[in-house]
Protein backbone atom coordinates (compact mmCIF):
# COMPACT_ATOMS: atom_id res chain seq x y z
CA UNK A 1 0.00 0.00 0.00
CA UNK A 2 1.37 3.41 -0.93
CA UNK A 3 2.19 5.92 1.84
CA UNK A 4 -0.26 8.39 0.31
CA UNK A 5 -3.12 5.94 0.74
CA UNK A 6 -2.03 5.29 4.31
CA UNK A 7 -2.03 9.01 5.14
CA UNK A 8 -5.45 9.46 3.53
CA UNK A 9 -6.88 6.50 5.48
CA UNK A 10 -5.43 7.73 8.79
CA UNK A 11 -6.68 11.28 8.23
CA UNK A 12 -10.19 10.05 7.36
CA UNK A 13 -10.29 7.74 10.39
CA UNK A 14 -9.24 10.55 12.77
CA UNK A 15 -11.71 12.95 11.12
CA UNK A 16 -14.55 10.41 11.30
CA UNK A 17 -13.74 9.48 14.88
CA UNK A 18 -13.63 13.13 15.93
CA UNK A 19 -17.03 13.84 14.41
CA UNK A 20 -18.62 10.78 15.98
CA UNK A 21 -17.17 11.87 19.34
CA UNK A 22 -18.56 15.40 18.90
CA UNK A 23 -21.98 13.94 18.09
CA UNK A 24 -21.82 11.97 21.34
CA UNK A 25 -20.70 15.05 23.31
CA UNK A 26 -23.65 16.92 21.80
CA UNK A 27 -26.00 14.24 23.12
CA UNK A 28 -24.72 14.93 26.64
CA UNK A 29 -24.31 18.70 26.40
CA UNK A 30 -27.38 20.02 24.58
CA UNK A 31 -30.21 21.15 26.85
CA UNK A 32 -33.34 19.22 25.79
CA UNK A 33 -34.64 16.27 23.79
CA UNK A 34 -35.27 18.15 20.55
CA UNK A 35 -31.85 19.82 20.40
CA UNK A 36 -30.23 16.46 21.14
CA UNK A 37 -31.81 15.10 17.96
CA UNK A 38 -29.45 17.29 15.93
CA UNK A 39 -26.18 15.71 17.05
CA UNK A 40 -26.77 12.15 15.82
CA UNK A 41 -28.48 13.13 12.55
CA UNK A 42 -25.67 15.35 11.30
CA UNK A 43 -22.28 15.14 12.98
CA UNK A 44 -22.45 11.36 13.19
CA UNK A 45 -23.57 10.99 9.57
CA UNK A 46 -20.40 12.70 8.36
CA UNK A 47 -18.32 10.75 10.88
CA UNK A 48 -19.58 7.40 9.60
CA UNK A 49 -19.25 8.65 6.01
CA UNK A 50 -15.56 9.44 6.54
CA UNK A 51 -14.92 6.05 8.14
CA UNK A 52 -16.66 4.30 5.22
CA UNK A 53 -14.58 6.31 2.75
CA UNK A 54 -11.38 5.23 4.50
CA UNK A 55 -12.57 1.63 4.23
CA UNK A 56 -13.17 2.08 0.48
CA UNK A 57 -9.63 3.48 0.04
CA UNK A 58 -8.10 0.66 2.11
CA UNK A 59 -9.72 -2.16 0.17
CA UNK A 60 -8.96 -0.59 -3.21
CA UNK A 61 -5.33 0.07 -2.15
CA UNK A 62 -4.70 -3.58 -1.18
CA UNK A 63 -6.21 -4.58 -4.53
CA UNK A 64 -9.51 -6.16 -3.61
CA UNK A 65 -11.49 -3.88 -5.89
CA UNK A 66 -13.64 -0.88 -5.04
CA UNK A 67 -16.01 -1.72 -2.19
CA UNK A 68 -19.51 -0.95 -3.43
CA UNK A 69 -20.98 -2.34 -0.20
CA UNK A 70 -19.46 0.54 1.80
CA UNK A 71 -21.02 3.09 -0.52
CA UNK A 72 -24.35 1.28 -0.18
CA UNK A 73 -24.09 1.31 3.62
CA UNK A 74 -23.51 5.07 3.51
CA UNK A 75 -26.48 5.56 1.19
CA UNK A 76 -28.75 3.51 3.47
CA UNK A 77 -27.52 5.50 6.45
CA UNK A 78 -28.31 8.79 4.72
CA UNK A 79 -31.77 7.50 3.84
CA UNK A 80 -32.66 6.16 7.29
CA UNK A 81 -31.17 8.83 9.60
CA UNK A 82 -33.80 11.50 8.77
CA UNK A 83 -36.64 8.99 9.07
CA UNK A 84 -35.58 7.91 12.56
CA UNK A 85 -35.08 11.54 13.63
CA UNK A 86 -38.56 12.34 12.35
CA UNK A 87 -40.09 9.36 14.21
CA UNK A 88 -38.30 10.34 17.45
CA UNK A 89 -39.54 13.94 17.14
CA UNK A 90 -43.11 12.77 16.47
CA UNK A 91 -43.02 10.41 19.43
CA UNK A 92 -41.65 13.18 21.66
CA UNK A 93 -44.43 15.56 20.61
CA UNK A 94 -47.00 12.84 21.16
CA UNK A 95 -46.04 12.28 24.81
CA UNK A 96 -45.39 16.01 25.31
CA UNK A 97 -41.68 16.10 26.11
CA UNK A 98 -40.71 19.44 27.69
CA UNK A 99 -38.60 21.90 25.71
CA UNK A 100 -36.03 24.30 27.14
CA UNK A 101 -37.51 27.62 28.22
CA UNK A 102 -35.91 29.82 25.59
CA UNK A 103 -37.30 27.74 22.70
CA UNK A 104 -39.27 29.90 20.30
CA UNK A 105 -42.54 28.49 19.07
CA UNK A 106 -44.31 25.39 20.30
CA UNK A 107 -44.61 21.79 19.13
CA UNK A 108 -48.06 20.87 17.82
CA UNK A 109 -50.67 19.21 19.93
CA UNK A 110 -51.05 15.64 18.75
Amino acid sequence: MSPLAEYAISALLVFGGAFTLIGAIGLARLPDFYTRLHGPTKATTVGVGAIMLSSVIYFSAIGEGVGISEVLITVFLLMTAPVSANMLAKAAMHIGVKTVEDTEGKPWEQ
Binding site: I25, V46, L72, E104
Partner: protein
Protein backbone atom coordinates in the same frame (compact mmCIF):
# COMPACT_ATOMS: atom_id res chain seq x y z
CA UNK B 1 -54.81 -14.49 -8.07
CA UNK B 2 -52.76 -13.71 -11.11
CA UNK B 3 -51.66 -10.24 -9.96
CA UNK B 4 -50.21 -11.87 -6.84
CA UNK B 5 -47.43 -13.12 -9.07
CA UNK B 6 -46.78 -9.80 -10.77
CA UNK B 7 -44.34 -7.03 -9.94
CA UNK B 8 -46.42 -3.95 -9.02
CA UNK B 9 -43.35 -1.69 -9.15
CA UNK B 10 -40.91 -2.98 -11.75
CA UNK B 11 -38.24 -0.32 -11.03
CA UNK B 12 -38.29 -0.98 -7.30
CA UNK B 13 -38.02 -4.72 -7.98
CA UNK B 14 -35.10 -4.20 -10.35
CA UNK B 15 -33.25 -1.97 -7.86
CA UNK B 16 -33.84 -4.44 -5.01
CA UNK B 17 -32.57 -7.29 -7.18
CA UNK B 18 -29.43 -5.40 -8.21
CA UNK B 19 -28.67 -4.23 -4.65
CA UNK B 20 -29.01 -7.81 -3.41
CA UNK B 21 -26.49 -8.99 -6.05
CA UNK B 22 -24.05 -6.25 -4.97
CA UNK B 23 -24.46 -7.01 -1.27
CA UNK B 24 -23.93 -10.76 -1.64
CA UNK B 25 -20.35 -11.75 -2.45
CA UNK B 26 -20.43 -12.45 -6.15
CA UNK B 27 -23.39 -13.44 -8.30
CA UNK B 28 -24.33 -17.09 -7.83
CA UNK B 29 -27.39 -19.28 -8.27
CA UNK B 30 -28.36 -18.77 -4.65
CA UNK B 31 -28.07 -15.00 -4.72
CA UNK B 32 -30.11 -14.80 -7.94
CA UNK B 33 -32.84 -16.99 -6.45
CA UNK B 34 -33.00 -15.06 -3.19
CA UNK B 35 -32.77 -11.75 -5.09
CA UNK B 36 -35.78 -12.72 -7.19
CA UNK B 37 -37.76 -13.68 -4.08
CA UNK B 38 -36.93 -10.36 -2.39
CA UNK B 39 -37.65 -8.38 -5.56
CA UNK B 40 -41.10 -9.96 -5.63
CA UNK B 41 -41.89 -10.05 -1.88
CA UNK B 42 -40.84 -6.55 -0.72
CA UNK B 43 -42.96 -4.58 -3.25
CA UNK B 44 -45.92 -6.87 -2.46
CA UNK B 45 -45.65 -6.19 1.27
CA UNK B 46 -44.99 -2.45 1.00
CA UNK B 47 -47.46 -1.83 -1.83
CA UNK B 48 -50.06 -0.14 0.34
CA UNK B 49 -47.59 2.34 1.82
CA UNK B 50 -46.39 3.84 -1.46
CA UNK B 51 -47.85 7.15 -2.51
CA UNK B 52 -49.29 7.45 -6.01
CA UNK B 53 -46.73 7.91 -8.70
CA UNK B 54 -46.08 11.55 -9.58
CA UNK B 55 -47.34 12.59 -12.99
CA UNK B 56 -43.95 13.60 -14.30
CA UNK B 57 -40.55 13.61 -12.65
CA UNK B 58 -37.50 15.17 -14.20
CA UNK B 59 -35.08 12.53 -13.02
CA UNK B 60 -32.08 14.14 -14.72
CA UNK B 61 -32.25 17.02 -12.24
CA UNK B 62 -31.74 14.58 -9.34
CA UNK B 63 -27.90 14.23 -9.42
CA UNK B 64 -27.35 18.00 -9.08
CA UNK B 65 -29.79 18.06 -6.17
CA UNK B 66 -28.08 15.12 -4.44
CA UNK B 67 -24.64 16.73 -4.86
CA UNK B 68 -25.92 19.96 -3.36
CA UNK B 69 -27.44 18.09 -0.40
CA UNK B 70 -24.20 16.13 0.17
CA UNK B 71 -22.22 19.38 0.20
CA UNK B 72 -24.71 20.91 2.64
CA UNK B 73 -24.52 17.85 4.91
CA UNK B 74 -20.76 18.36 5.30
CA UNK B 75 -21.17 22.10 5.96
CA UNK B 76 -24.04 21.37 8.36
CA UNK B 77 -21.93 18.92 10.32
CA UNK B 78 -19.20 21.49 10.79
CA UNK B 79 -21.63 24.13 12.01
CA UNK B 80 -23.41 21.71 14.36
CA UNK B 81 -20.05 20.42 15.65
CA UNK B 82 -18.92 24.01 16.26
CA UNK B 83 -22.15 24.79 18.09
CA UNK B 84 -21.77 21.72 20.31
CA UNK B 85 -18.19 22.63 21.25
CA UNK B 86 -18.72 26.38 21.74
CA UNK B 87 -19.73 27.43 25.26
CA UNK B 88 -22.82 29.51 24.36
CA UNK B 89 -26.23 27.89 24.41
CA UNK B 90 -28.07 27.45 21.11
CA UNK B 91 -31.35 29.26 20.43
CA UNK B 92 -33.73 26.44 19.48
CA UNK B 93 -37.04 27.19 17.76
CA UNK B 94 -40.09 25.42 16.34
CA UNK B 95 -40.90 26.82 12.92
CA UNK B 96 -44.01 26.20 10.82
CA UNK B 97 -42.92 25.97 7.23
CA UNK B 98 -45.60 26.68 4.60
CA UNK B 99 -45.35 23.93 1.97
CA UNK B 100 -45.87 24.68 -1.67
CA UNK B 101 -45.12 21.16 -2.86
CA UNK B 102 -48.20 18.98 -2.96
CA UNK B 103 -46.97 15.53 -3.93
CA UNK B 104 -46.43 13.22 -0.91
CA UNK B 105 -43.18 11.82 -2.34
CA UNK B 106 -41.80 15.33 -2.93
CA UNK B 107 -42.77 16.35 0.61
CA UNK B 108 -41.03 13.35 2.11
CA UNK B 109 -37.88 14.07 0.09
CA UNK B 110 -37.97 17.68 1.30
CA UNK B 111 -38.53 16.59 4.91
CA UNK B 112 -35.60 14.15 4.76
CA UNK B 113 -33.37 16.81 3.21
CA UNK B 114 -34.30 19.26 5.96
CA UNK B 115 -33.42 16.68 8.60
CA UNK B 116 -29.98 16.12 7.06
CA UNK B 117 -29.00 19.76 6.50
CA UNK B 118 -27.96 22.82 8.54
CA UNK B 119 -29.37 22.84 12.05
CA UNK B 120 -32.89 21.69 11.24
CA UNK B 121 -34.92 18.52 11.84
CA UNK B 122 -38.38 18.12 10.37
CA UNK B 123 -40.73 17.00 13.11
CA UNK B 124 -44.16 16.62 11.55
CA UNK B 125 -46.37 17.27 8.54
CA UNK B 126 -49.86 18.65 9.13
CA UNK B 127 -52.76 16.40 8.14
CA UNK B 128 -53.64 18.55 5.10
CA UNK B 129 -50.05 18.37 3.79
CA UNK B 130 -49.76 22.17 3.85
CA UNK B 131 -47.44 22.84 6.77
CA UNK B 132 -44.20 21.24 7.89
CA UNK B 133 -43.13 21.61 11.51
CA UNK B 134 -39.38 22.11 11.75
CA UNK B 135 -37.19 22.18 14.82
CA UNK B 136 -34.20 24.45 14.33
CA UNK B 137 -31.21 24.05 16.63
CA UNK B 138 -29.96 27.62 16.37
CA UNK B 139 -32.28 30.04 14.60
CA UNK B 140 -31.81 33.80 14.54
CA UNK B 141 -35.08 34.41 12.71
CA UNK B 142 -37.87 32.15 11.46
CA UNK B 143 -38.10 33.94 8.13
CA UNK B 144 -34.41 33.41 7.40
CA UNK B 145 -34.72 29.65 7.90
CA UNK B 146 -37.87 29.50 5.76
CA UNK B 147 -36.23 31.50 2.94
CA UNK B 148 -33.10 29.34 2.95
CA UNK B 149 -35.10 26.11 2.74
CA UNK B 150 -37.35 27.51 0.03
CA UNK B 151 -34.51 28.73 -2.18
CA UNK B 152 -32.10 25.84 -1.82
CA UNK B 153 -34.42 22.82 -1.61
CA UNK B 154 -38.09 23.41 -2.24
CA UNK B 155 -37.65 25.35 -5.47
CA UNK B 156 -35.44 22.68 -7.13
CA UNK B 157 -37.90 19.99 -5.95
CA UNK B 158 -40.84 21.91 -7.38
CA UNK B 159 -39.08 22.13 -10.72
CA UNK B 160 -38.44 18.39 -10.55
CA UNK B 161 -42.02 17.37 -9.75
CA UNK B 162 -43.93 19.67 -12.05
Amino acid sequence: MFDRLSFPQPWLSLILFLIWQILSDGVSGGSVALGLILAWLIPQITHGFWPERPAFVKVWRMPAYILRVLKDIVIASFSVAWLILSPRNPRPAFISYPLQLDHPLAISILASTISLTPGTVSADVSDDNKTLLIHALDATSDQEVIDTIYNSYEKPLMEMFQ
